[in-house]
């Protein structure tokens, strides 16, 4: 078997695994659509997934991952959307809340983890505990910074992990060399970066509303609320209790490198506008109908603010090296 990683820097590992068959060049990663991170009205969510059902994405993550007060789409509604998408041939994964504080949130978590129709993406170690013994995925907010962590989680049933967004291509390469067999690797390749979570709701605070009586204020900001520096640089986005990057990560130009590294899945994160075009560009690049660099350049025009890709290159996350 050829070893596409063979020319790369050697890394000392205790239990190195040979590159998997999927690391062969020419390998085609699948495309996944991350959960909606914003608070959209139910009609908008339904329309969005009606579009997705017909769109060329392979995997769809569904569910509320940010705030348990966002109740436009309830658990049963998510399951109904999941079933419709599955009927359209999508692999559906249910995503769990990232920051779990209240018992009511754990109750919902148990409902998600207790069903066995769809795989679950754990976004907190509490969810990992509830899923242990069954196949599960972990999202980018579960801190998986080394292969030792992957090995511990693989013993619990981990089938898929997502690279934490602040890690670099070099670290991914080390992880790919050493990861346990049978665990798929997913990389967030498009979307505003999840940067932080808090007890505080920054959107409610911006409107001088108490968190406990937020009046669904997040619904006024379908792509979050942009935070500018005092010299007018668009910097961050407030999304309820979450802080995101104002700039959208775009790693589509890195598709050849990801193929070489054997990345199994590229994840794109929903935005309120032009998502069908984003999906189409990824699909064309993944199916060799368009050069990744050209597709990447076209993507930049679809973003709310503009692109960034610094983390991948070992720089500040906000840096835009390919733009």
């Amino acid at each position: 078997m050829s070893c596409p990683l063979g020319t790369q820097k050697q890394v000392t590992m205790n239990n190195p695994q040979p590159p998997t068959a999927s690391a062969q060049s020419g390998h085609r990663p699948r495309l996944s659509l991350g959960p909606i991170t914003y608070y959209w009205p139910k009609e908008q969510v339904d329309a969005f997934y009606a579009m997705v059902a017909e769109a060329p994405v392979d995997i769809v993550y569904l569910g509320e991952t940010i705030c348990s007060k966002r109740n436009q789409v309830r658990h049963e509604d998510w399951l109904a959307i999941a079933e419709r998408l599955a009927e359209h041939g999508k692999e559906v994964v249910l995503s769990t809340l990232t920051l779990l504080e209240a018992e009511s949130e754990l109750k919902r978590l148990r409902a998600i983890c207790g069903q066995d129709q769809f795989m679950v993406e754990a976004n907190d170690m509490g969810a990992v505990r509830l899923l242990a013994g069954r196949p599960f995925a972990i999202g980018p907010s579960v801190n998986c910074y080394n292969d030792r962590t992957l090995s511990v989680l693989a013993k619990q049933g981990l089938k898929r992990w997502a690279l934490p967004v602040e890690l670099t291509r070099e670290t991914l390469e080390q992880m790919q060399r050493a990861k346990p067999a049978g665990v798929e690797t997913e990389v967030m390749a498009y979307g505003r970066l999840p940067l932080a979570y808090s007890a505080r709701c920054f959107t409610a605070r911006h409107k001088h509303l108490p968190k406990d009586d937020c009046r669904d204020v997040c619904m006024d900001y379908p792509d979050g609320l942009v935070v500018n520096t005092q010299d007018d640089q668009q910097f961050l986005v407030l999304n309820g209790i979450q802080t995101q990057s104002a700039h959208t990560v775009n790693l589509l130009a890195e598709l050849p490198a990801m193929r070489e590294l054997g990345v199994d899945i590229l994840r794109i994160s929903p935005q309120s506008q032009r998502m069908d075009q984003v999906i189409a560009l990824f699909h064309r690049a993944l199916s060799d109908a368009l050069e990744p660099a050209e597709a990447s350049a076209q993507l930049n025009a679809l973003m709310p603010v503009g692109p960034c890709d610094g983390y991948w290159h070992g720089e500040a996350g906000m840096a835009a090296t390919a733009a």
Binding site: V11, T12, T98, L99, E101, A102, L106, D124, M125, G126, A127, V128, R129, A132, S141, N143, C144, Y145, N146, D147, R148, T149, S151, V152, L153, V165, E166, L167, T171, Q174, M175, R177, L193, L195, A196, Y197, S198, A199, R200, C201, F202, H206, P210, K211, L225, V226, V227, N228, T229, Q230, Q233, F235, L236, L238, T243, G314, E315, A316, G317, M318
Partner: protein, 331 residues
Amino acid sequence: MELVCPAGNLPALKAAVDNGANAVYIGFRDDTNARHFAGLNFAPNKMVEGIRYARGKGVRVFIALNTYPRPDGFGRFEQAVDKAAELGVDALIAADIGVLDYASRTHPTLNLHLSVQGSATNYEALRFYHEQFGIRRAVLPRVLSISQVKHVIEQSPVDIEVFAFGSLCVMVEGRCILSSYATGRSPNTYGACSPASHVEWIETDSGLDTRLGGVLIQRHPKGENVGYPTLCKGTFNTDGLTYHAIEDPVSLNAMELLPEMQAAGVKAIKIEGRQRSPVYVAQVTKIWREALDSFERSPSSFTPKPEWTAALGKVSEGAQTTLGPYHRPWQ
């Protein structure tokens, strides 16, 4: 309740011990801990001396090993775990699952605490770390209200330590990469937030600008007190409003909640500040010792003395304190 105090060097450790800490927490002199600052922390020989000093006065010593190693750095973390075990520390405070796994398998008698950087905010997460690695204590992130802290403790398989005083992380610890977004360095990867190496102070016609990784964090008019440009405490422009969009430059002071913390079953209270001076550590430890002693003598009539509150306020960031997330309206 145990009083757990910070020590960034040997003089600070002695200051904490001499002023009434029950335990001190320290770190190695590298990026294996979340206060990786120039000139801070302990070389191994100083650690031996510090542990001897603390033990001699009946004070426990914890070592923080609470950043997240990448594969090529894992060996250094293994060595650090081995060193901590060899030193016979009273607890190792760790966050990374791989590090906890190594520590629990290689040194089964080593007492493990889950660091705040482990981001465990609920009892199901605590059960995971307890079942997998036998942790005996966890430090809760600063996101729960005091009633939520109580609920977690009722269901928790391990003892709970909470922050009571010092700089306030607004975000869930271990899940905030704002710093690396602007600078490439985060608490998780590098052990520092808003690192000094990336700070610029630029005099302008109207005053002073502070930048982090080139990003304008604060714009100070002439004569205004200039604070450190921690990213989440910056002044930004949102929807036409210029304000501290994430948090004001304030510190946590939860002293008035000591009765609630005791009633909730909190086993230890933590003072933040390994980066602060020995003088600061001495002063803050002394006041908190007095407060805890006063509370334990007469729990039902405890209120913080105004002179304690004033003295703590003076040494706090922005000279302002808050109850933070313990108090629901803050959220």
